[in-house]
């Protein structure tokens, strides 16, 4: 870890690789579903990178790593909890949705799409692809990563940058 803090890439790679099984163990112990364990691993690796400067070499490394892994696991469980309370069983959602309202929404969405299209087309290739897969086609992060051949991290970064550019552009155009 001390070598990694000094910029030693070989040591850093070894450290991140060694952290993966530890993070998996923490995530499972906290109750993260098996399908989401790798997402927790990815998020923990990103957090480790962001918080690298906070590690105190005078202290043991394991509590530092465990604390970050535990928080990312709890974040994942909270996010899943929020999603499950927002989601409505499909048949109920369909019956509850008025046809009249659907027509208005469709007209509104068409307007939005027409407004967005030039802005999306103006985005760099990577960002455009991320918006298309994640935003327009509705693929999950894992599916989008598989289809594009990019990592989830790269897709997330591209998507966030694209949203920021679109927001700036649309706010600018009123």
């Amino acid at each position: 870890m001390i070598a990694a803090q000094g910029g030693d890439q070989v040591a850093y790679r070894a450290l991140l690789s060694a952290a993966v099984p530890v993070v998996r163990r923490v995530a499972r112990a906290i109750g993260v579903p098996p399908a989401s364990v790798d997402d927790v691993v990815q998020e923990t690796l990103l957090s480790m990178h962001r918080l690298l400067h906070t590690y105190d070499p005078a202290r043991p490394f394991a509590p530092w790593l465990n604390a970050i892994a535990r928080r990312r696991s709890i974040d994942m469980l909270r996010a899943q909890g929020r999603r499950s309370t927002r989601e409505v069983h499909a048949p109920i959602a369909y019956e509850a949705h008025a046809e009249e309202e659907d027509r208005y929404v469709a007209v509104e969405m068409k307007g939005d799409a027409e407004r967005l299209r030039p802005a999306i087309n103006a985005l760099p290739e990577g960002q455009r692809e991320a918006v298309k897969l994640l935003g327009l086609d509705g693929y999950t992060l894992a599916e989008s990563a598989e289809l594009s051949g990019k990592t989830k991290t790269a897709l997330k970064v591209s998507f966030h940058r694209a949203i920021k550019s679109l927001r700036a552009r649309l706010e600018g155009s009123g």
Binding site: Q9, L16, V41, L45, N66, R71, T151, A154
Partner: protein
């Protein structure tokens, strides 16, 4: 490669490629010491400007415990905030300032009860209550901002709790300054204003400071 699933291997490769040497954080006690030094400077300046009667600290039985309680609460809440800004410190550190806060509150209330009917009790006029409000808000806002700016580089994961503790440390430090400047027992109105000011500073720090820390 490391034998991990592709996504994890790719993330490790990306993070490794983007690694730069990092400037390590100074130990938390250095941050605490610097912040307490700023508190002492501010208290000395306010004492020099506003004056004070140190005799009152010993003449009135509940004033000194109140001063010790608020000063200890400021120091311990600062220790707690700087420690909790590090990812690997236990949540239990949050309880560190609790005994000092209890001493501070109990002695304020006891002083209020003991001073009932005393003509030198503080907070009987609107001007005195306004002075209490001005000193607590005026001193704690810059102290809280300073603590949060100092802590921000640690990118605390428990940002709301850290900001709340920074607000508590600042409000307690401001209360210490107030007691030094006005070492009298307080009226019920003054204790109520004092408590409301401290609560407002702590809440504002948790909300505004928490947002600032979150964006680090």
């Amino acid at each position: 490669m490391t034998g991990q699933p592709n996504g994890i291997d790719a993330t490790i490769a990306e993070l490794t490629a983007s690694l730069q040497p990092v400037r390590k954080l100074a130990p938390p006690w250095i941050g605490v010491a610097l912040w307490l030094a700023a508190v002492i400077v501010l208290a000395a300046v306010l004492y020099a400007i506003l004056g004070g009667e140190l005799d009152g600290l010993v003449e009135r039985p509940w004033v000194l415990p109140s001063l010790i309680g608020s000063a200890a609460a400021a120091a311990l809440a600062a220790v707690s905030a700087f420690l909790l800004s590090r990812p690997d410190r236990a949540d239990a550190w949050m309880l560190l300032p609790l005994p000092a806060v209890l001493l501070w509150v109990v002695s304020l209330v006891a002083g209020c009860i003991a001073g009932a009917g005393d003509p030198e009790t503080w907070g009987t006029t609107g001007a005195e209550v306004r002075a209490c409000l001005t000193i607590i808000i005026g001193a704690s806002v810059p102290l809280s901002a300073l603590a949060i700016v100092m802590i921000r580089r640690a990118r605390p994961e428990r940002f709301a709790r850290v900001a709340l503790l920074a607000g508590l440390a600042s409000a307690a430090a401001a209360s210490t300054v107030l007691i030094l400047v006005n070492p009298h027992n307080s009226t019920v109105l003054d204790v109520a204003v004092h408590t409301a000011c401290v609560a407002a500073v702590v809440t504002a720090s948790a909300l505004v400071g928490g947002r600032f820390l979150r964006s680090a």
